[in-house]
């Protein structure tokens, strides 16, 4: 590994770690997601310190060509993005559930306020409540 490569890797790794830590500090990144990026940053730094390790890993995986290395990187990133797609889908489902629930609760609240102001209405026959929706 040339010195230029090592310097670029060093800067890259430090930047990644720095940005991650700064985001955690500003509470814009949850720790559970930050762990992934801290590990990635540390791994890059480890390879800067011990370039031999990188080549051992490459040897072990039979990665003799740059293209194969790129492929490994791509698979790694694709897995992360897929994970985030799952997270986003779950969040939009929850957001929808909460929005719907909120609209119904607001209505319920308005009705209760109305009833509190007026004399109580004649009793209504109780209607069994259906089982709660899974959320």
């Amino acid at each position: 590994m040339t010195w230029t490569q090592r310097i670029v890797l060093l800067l890259g790794g430090l930047t990644l770690l720095g940005v991650t830590l700064e985001l955690i500090r500003k509470r814009r990144l949850r720790e559970e997601y930050a762990v992934l990026w801290i590990c990635t940053g540390l791994m890059i730094l480890a390879f800067v310190v011990m370039p031999g390790a990188l080549f051992s890993v490459a040897e072990w995986l039979s990665l003799h060509y740059t293209v194969l290395m790129m492929l490994v990187c791509f698979i790694f990133l694709a897995a992360i993005v897929l994970h985030y797609s799952v997270v986003i889908s779950r969040h939009s489902d929850r957001e929808r559930d909460l929005t719907q629930e909120l609209a119904m609760l607001k209505d319920e609240l308005a009705k209760l306020k109305e009833e509190a102001r007026e004399p109580p209405p004649p009793p209504v026959e109780p209607r069994p409540r259906p089982p709660a929706l899974r959320t």
Partner: protein, 272 residues
């Protein structure tokens, strides 16, 4: 607890005459003790919503109405309340699927036996709701679709739109092994089982065609009845990207993905 027809005796506003509605005397379709709800999804329909309400009051006084205001930027909510509707305001815009599902959740939790989907833009006719309800009231159907094409009358789609719907209808027919002529129709009636299903799970992207696949997957019965519709009076179709092919491809893809999905597990409802 919602009492049926609590909206019926509301103030007469804007000079809109409201026929008096009283429980019992208005049951012209054989509901008996069952209760019906009309779900009206509305997004920026302030211009048309009071006409829709008047239509419903006059021709379907036997049903309660809930307007789902899907985060409108105009006075939809205010106008709907003025016209005597119960309104659920979604604090953020969810799109047609999320809005309609809110109505089904409400219908489920309030114990309605029959729920209709009825657009807030005035293209559906309240007079036809009774025909939609009949197969469900007779007890052998879970979901009824009002089709514009079942009889050659009152067709309201033209050009690429018609071609698109035809292709989609063919695809849906193959998937469901049951002839469906108007899979994008938003004029529908759902029985208790379908209400329960939709309260738990309702497609969000292209809800009308996709919900058919869902309903078949759960083993519910679907039926189409003829229903003439008006040309829309205002508002914008929820199908915005209507450059035929693009829309078609996306809906078909969504439907094919729906066929891959497993069954939804729904808790058995306590018999009332």
């Amino acid at each position: 607890m919602i009492r049926p027809r609590e909206n019926g005796r509301d103030k007469e506003s804007e000079g809109v005459a409201m026929p008096a509605t009283h429980s019992g005397s208005t049951d012209t379709i054989g509901l008996g003790t069952r209760r019906a709800l009309v779900i009206v999804p509305a997004y920026n329909e302030a211009e048309t919503i009071h006409r829709v309400m008047r239509d419903l009051r006059r021709h379907a006084p036997w049903a309660d109405v809930v307007v789902i205001n899907d985060g409108s930027k105009d006075a939809t909510s205010f106008r709907a309340r003025q016209a005597g509707a119960k309104v659920l305001d979604l604090p953020v815009n969810l799109g047609i699927g999320g809005a309609v599902q809110t109505g089904f959740r409400y219908a489920y939790e309030q114990g309605y036996d029959l729920a209709f989907q009825f657009d807030g833009d005035g293209q559906h006719r309240a007079r036809r709701l009774a025909e939609l309800a009949r197969p469900i009231l007779e007890g052998h159907t879970d979901l009824v679709i009002g089709s514009r094409f079942l009889r050659p009358r009152g067709m309201t789609a033209y050009g690429m739109r018609l071609v698109g719907i035809k292709i989609l209808a063919r695809a849906i027919t193959v998937i469901g092994k049951q002839p469906i002529t108007d899979p994008t129709s938003g004029f529908r009636a759902a029985g208790r089982r379908a209400i329960q299903l939709f309260a738990h799970e309702y497609p969000q992207d292209y809800p009308e065609p996709e919900s058919l696949v869902l309903v078949w997957r759960q083993g519910l019965n679907v039926r189409e009845v003829p229903a003439a519709m008006r040309r829309r009076r205002g508002g914008v179709s929820s199908i915005r990207l209507w450059n035929g092919v693009h829309y078609m491809a996306k809906v078909l893809l969504a439907i094919v993905m729906d066929t891959l999905k497993g069954r939804v597990q729904i808790q058995e409802e306590v018999v009332r």
